[in-house]
Structure formats: structure tokens, C-alpha cells
Amino acid sequence: MILVLSQSSHELTTEEVMDWLEDLGLPCLRLNGEDLDADSSWSARVPGGDFEITLDGRTLKLAAGDIQAVWFRRWAHGRRDQPVELILDDSRERQEAQREISSHLDQEMARLSGYLFSQLHDAAWLSRPSITRLNKLEVLEEAARAGLEVPATLITTRKKHLEEFMRTHGGIITKSIGESRALHLGDYFHTMLTAEIGTDLIAQLPEDLFPSLFQEKLDKRYEIRAFYLAGELYSMAIFSQIDDQTRVDFRHYNNVKPNRVVPFKLPADIADRISRLMGALELETGSLDLVKTTDGRYVFLEVNPVGQFGMVSKPCNYHLEQRVAEILARKARHGNSPQPV
């Protein structure tokens, strides 16, 4: 049995991989992160117990011994935001308490997920969840060691150093050091995408900053999104520079006239260095962002260990959903040993 760990909505890719698994004659079971929250009923006895989950009136036993392979697609432990009843009167205290409790319950769900994953330790995973949180800065170090060019990067708390950096590189951008988050305030989603920083903005900053990341702004000819899958590399070029809206960050999507995206073949030496990087990071899958600069250099930006491969697979007609199913099938049969499919 192959276990698919996913989330309940916006997951066409999960369904497509499952269709391919069925085509290969492999039984699979999908568990969404949300299935562990209050809407389902389930229990596990420690130590050594199996998970027993009742969903839609059906009870199923998740016995570690029955699971040969696990596909860690994604996992939103989506504790639904029901407010907890409180005896506090003060409205500010109530708000704070709600926030604290909410974050505590999230942590409880995360621990629980961690236990479920560790019980499945002996199965062959396509990407173990323990490695899905990378440190962008460590990755840049590792990429440079693998021979990839990386953008000049400064992390500083000193405005003076930022101004120097600006003078050296002309244009600069900022982005978060860790994962970017979306803030849901009122009717709006505020996302933290890459943004260009100008001298006007820098002038308004205080002398001392919160530790922040800055990078040289690259003159892009086009951008490259590459999906690395168990030693294979599937790349796509994104022509983000024709459109002002997408020049700095192509995720400022233009839905009316989407950026041109086409199949791309990275030069062999760049592909080799990417393989070396993925080996060093012990990643079997990953979505990599690179830039081809106007002066012809390939610059590595970052890697997302889970990554949406649908956005590469569909426009380039790579059929990666089938490829993922084949790799899971191999894992289910032979464990993690690296055998060609």
C-alpha cells in the first residue's frame, strides 16, 4: 500500500498521481492533514499502536507494516479556526488568549503529525518531512559549494551597510529570510513576495534595522523553474520581463496575459551542479528557481523541497504526475534502493 499525505482542497496534482498509481495497479490511500482534526474520529494507542481513523462513516486502520511507500505531497494540519470559549471578560485579553491557545493547538497537531510520520519511518518516502524545512541561507552556501553562481547577498541590521551594498550593486531587492507568509487581514491577503528597494525607501529607514536580507537585483533575460525528481531535471523558462507587472517577481501573476512559459533545457554543466547541490542537501525532489541574466549567466536563487510541479508539468507537457507515480511504485517494490525505473 502507498500512503499519500496531502491536503483536502486545491490538490488536482494529488488526484492525478493517484490515477496513475491506479493505472499501475498499485493500491493507495490518501490521508489529508485536515483528516486528523476534529471533524473525523480517530485514535492511536501508544506504544506501537496502529492509527484507527473513521472518516465518512468508514473506519480504516493505518498499520505501519502495511505501508511500503509514502508520498509526502503536502500536509496542512488544518485545525479549523473555531474560537475557544473563554471566561475572560477583557476583550484585549480575550484576543491574546485566543491567539496563544490557537498557536498551542497548532503545535499539538504538529507533534501529532510528527508521531504519525515517525511511526512510518521504515517505509520508503518520496521526500521525508524532516527535510522539507530548509534554511535559505544554508542553501545559498551549499549552492556556492556545488559551483552554482548565487546573487550577492547581505543580511544586516545597519542602514550604513545597506547603503554601501546599494552603491556597489545599483539595484537591490529584499525578501524574507525564512518562508514567506500570507497575512489575512480583513478582506485582503497580504503576501510577502520579492520586492525591489529604492534609495527613497532606504532614506526613510532608521539607522538600526531588524535583521533583513538584501540581494543584488539581477538583470533577467528570463527565469527558470526546474523540477528535480530523483536524479532527473525538468525545466521551464518563464518570460517575465516582457510584462512590467512580473519583472521583479513573476508570482505577481498577470492572469489576463500570463507570462510565456516554455520547455527549457539547462546546459549540462549547470544541470550537474544542481544534481550535486540536491545530493548535498539530501533532497530527492525540489523546485529550483534560477535566473538567466542578460549577460548570459545562470544564477541560482532558491530551492523549495516540496514544490508545485504541476506548474512545470502542465505547460511543458512533461507528464510528471505519471513519473512521480512510477517512482512511488519503484519505492513500494524495492524500498529506497536507487534502481532505475
Binding site: 496513475w20 491506479e22 500570463p258 510565456r260 512559459v261 527549457f264 548570459g296 507528464h319
Partner: protein, 339 residues
């Protein structure tokens, strides 16, 4: 002044298709197409990868001005780009694949039908079917629609399209809640309605009332630009497969299992056999591989990979490879015959 050593490349999602009189560039990403003269088709295919100077020389410098104009047009419409590294930009692989044994189905119903919906839906689910159209030629009650939709609630179907005959029970206030409740329901079209009216719900689902009556499968098989689909899925499927019948299965009003309700041949009745058995018949897939390149006239048409086909209503009933009879386009004159 253009740099003549440059190489022009079409974006791989913009694919030129040669017609008898004119050609198209099918834009599979932005889901549209543009007409181009056949001369430009030749430049883009036979002289692909050459520098501007190389192309000009190939035509003995007779058309330098036209060639410059062509490239300006293509750049202005974002169909291609000046490319410094052509080896990095392969053509798109047009291999079509689907894990489902059946991708789409039609189920016809009239007043005399005695379908076991539960059985049919279970079998379709097992075959992996993703899209289902149910056509009710005669009046049907709201409760019956609700019952059928409930049976499809937990299956693998992604979209259900309903065609129903107008009656008092088919009012907007009754059908809208149905569309909201069943996320898989992508459209309800009400035929024989008192007026033409169209409403799109926030979810994207469509509720449409049409005065035209649809009382039999004979109303199908129309070929018209409004049915063209320009995307990578359909375009790649059309390379080697029939654009209507590939991986389709149908059950007609009497329960006969067919490729399409409009076709004569039955592969057994659903009361006595299963969809699986019908599908296993060696002839069932015969029509699936009749692509447009094998059909008379269509093979010379610039729309052949974005157009729907029909094998039920054809120009010469004795010739399985004749063009759809309801198509009024003539690729040799590039004109639509007015109906």
C-alpha cells in the same frame, strides 16, 4: 534596423498548423489562435533555427521586407522571441497520455428509459471517468436529478453537465441551489425553455436556458468555432486520436452501450452486460484512433487540431473517413458556407 544575425523562435506553446489556403498559429497557453499566410508557415517550419540573414538568402532576397514585417508581427503579438541560445529551447513534446480507461461519457435519458443509475455511475467511476454529460430529452423531476447527483457525490468524476427539458420544476430558484450543492456540476442547460437566458455563478458553474428544443441525439455533431478548444490537452490528443470519441463511452435512452448515442452500433445493453465488457470488445476502440489527419478535407484544414470531430453524421455515410456533414467550412477557399 534589425540585426540580421538574430534567430527568431516561436514560443514552444505557439504551434504553426498548415492549411490548404492559410495557416494558424495555435497558442496553447493563451488558448487562442491567429491566422498566418502559408508563406510564413514555411519560414517558421522549414527555416526554423536559421538567422534572419539565412532566411532572406534562402528566398534570394526577394522578400526581405515581408520577412521583416512577419517577425515584427510575431514579436508584437508575443508569439515568439529573439533567441540567443536556441539549443536550450526544445519544441514541446506532443505525446498525449491519460491514466483513465474512460475519460468522458454520455448518458441519454427519455421518458421510456429505465436506467440503473447506481450501476452505471459505479462502473464509470471504476473506469476512472472524469466528465459525464446526462441528457434528459423529456421532462424530469427535481427529485430525480437530486437522486442521480447524490449517487455521483463521492466518486472520481470531476465534472457533470446536465441537459434537461424545461418544466416548471426547472426554475432558476430550484436549479441554482443544486449547482451550489454539487461542486462537480459544471453546467445545467435547460432546453425548450420559454426564453434564452444565461447565468454564471460565482463558482464558474453555468445555468443556461435555451428556447431550442433538444429532443434526440440528432441535435449533436455540430462543427463550429465556438466548439474549438485550443489547449495542450486537446491539441496533443488530436495528434493521434479522435477529438470526440477517444476514451468516450455512451449509454443511449434504451440502455445500448455505444461509442456515441448517435451511432448505430451497440456493444450490448447495460441491463445484461457491463461497461467493462463493452469496452473489452475489440471493435470498441476502433474509432478512437481516427484523427483528423486521416479524414478527408479535415486533413487539409488549419483548424484540425483544435476542432471537434463527429463520426456519426458524415458527408458520405459509406465512407468512414469522410468529413463531418455538419461542418460548413471549406479549407480550400478558407470560407464558411452560410447555413
Amino acid at each position: 534596423m534589425q540585426d540580421k544575425s538574430r534567430i527568431f523562435m516561436l514560443f514552444a506553446c505557439c504551434i504553426p498548423v498548415l492549411g490548404a489556403r492559410r495557416s494558424t498559429i495555435c497558442d496553447l497557453q493563451r488558448q487562442t489562435f491567429r491566422f498566418i499566410p502559408n508563406g510564413l508557415h514555411e519560414i517558421l517550419t522549414e527555416h526554423r533555427g536559421k538567422t534572419v540573414a539565412g532566411i532572406e538568402a534562402a528566398y534570394g532576397h526577394e522578400y526581405d521586407a515581408e520577412i521583416a514585417e512577419y517577425f515584427e508581427f510575431l514579436i508584437a503579438h508575443e508569439l515568439g522571441f529573439w533567441c540567443d541560445d536556441p539549443d536550450c529551447f526544445p519544441e514541446i513534446d506532443l505525446t498525449w497520455k491519460a491514466p483513465e480507461r474512460i475519460t468522458n461519457a454520455i448518458l441519454d435519458v427519455d421518458a421510456e428509459s429505465r436506467h440503473d443509475f447506481d450501476k452505471i455511475l459505479r462502473e464509470l467511476d471504476d473506469l476512472g471517468c472524469k466528465a459525464l454529460q446526462i441528457r434528459f430529452y423529456d421532462a424530469v423531476g427535481l427529485a430525480e436529478l437530486e437522486r442521480v447527483l447524490e449517487l455521483a457525490r463521492y466518486g472520481r468524476l470531476r465534472s457533470i453537465d446536465l441537459l434537461v427539458r424545461y418544466s416548471e420544476e426547472m426554475a432558476e430558484v430550484d436549479l441554482e441551489p443544486l449547482l451550489r450543492k454539487h461542486g462537480r456540476l459544471s453546467s445545467i442547460v435547460v432546453h425548450s425553455a420559454p426564453e434564452d437566458r444565461l447565468k454564471r455563478l460565482p463558482s464558474g458553474a453555468l445555468l443556461s436556458y435555451r428556447t431550442k428544443s433538444v429532443d434526440s441525439p440528432h441535435c449533436c455533431g455540430e462543427v463550429h468555432p465556438r466548439y474549438f478548444v485550443t489547449n495542450i490537452g486537446c491539441f496533443s490528443e488530436a495528434q493521434k486520436h479522435n477529438t470526440c470519441l477517444n476514451k468516450k463511452i455512451s449509454v443511449d435512452t434504451r440502455g445500448e452501450i455505444k461509442n456515441c448515442p448517435s451511432l448505430a452500433r451497440s456493444f450490448g445493453n447495460i441491463r445484461t452486460t457491463s461497461l467493462h465488457n463493452a469496452l473489452a470488445h475489440r471493435d470498441f476502440r476502433e474509432l478512437w484512433s481516427i484523427n483528423k489527419d486521416r479524414i478527408d478535407v479535415c486533413r487539409d484544414c488549419e483548424f484540425r487540431y483544435v476542432c471537434t470531430d463527429c463520426r456519426a453524421y458524415i458527408a458520405e455515410p459509406q465512407n468512414l473517413y469522410s468529413k463531418p456533414s455538419k461542418c460548413t467550412y471549406d479549407p480550400y477557399t478558407a470560407a464558411w458556407r452560410s447555413a
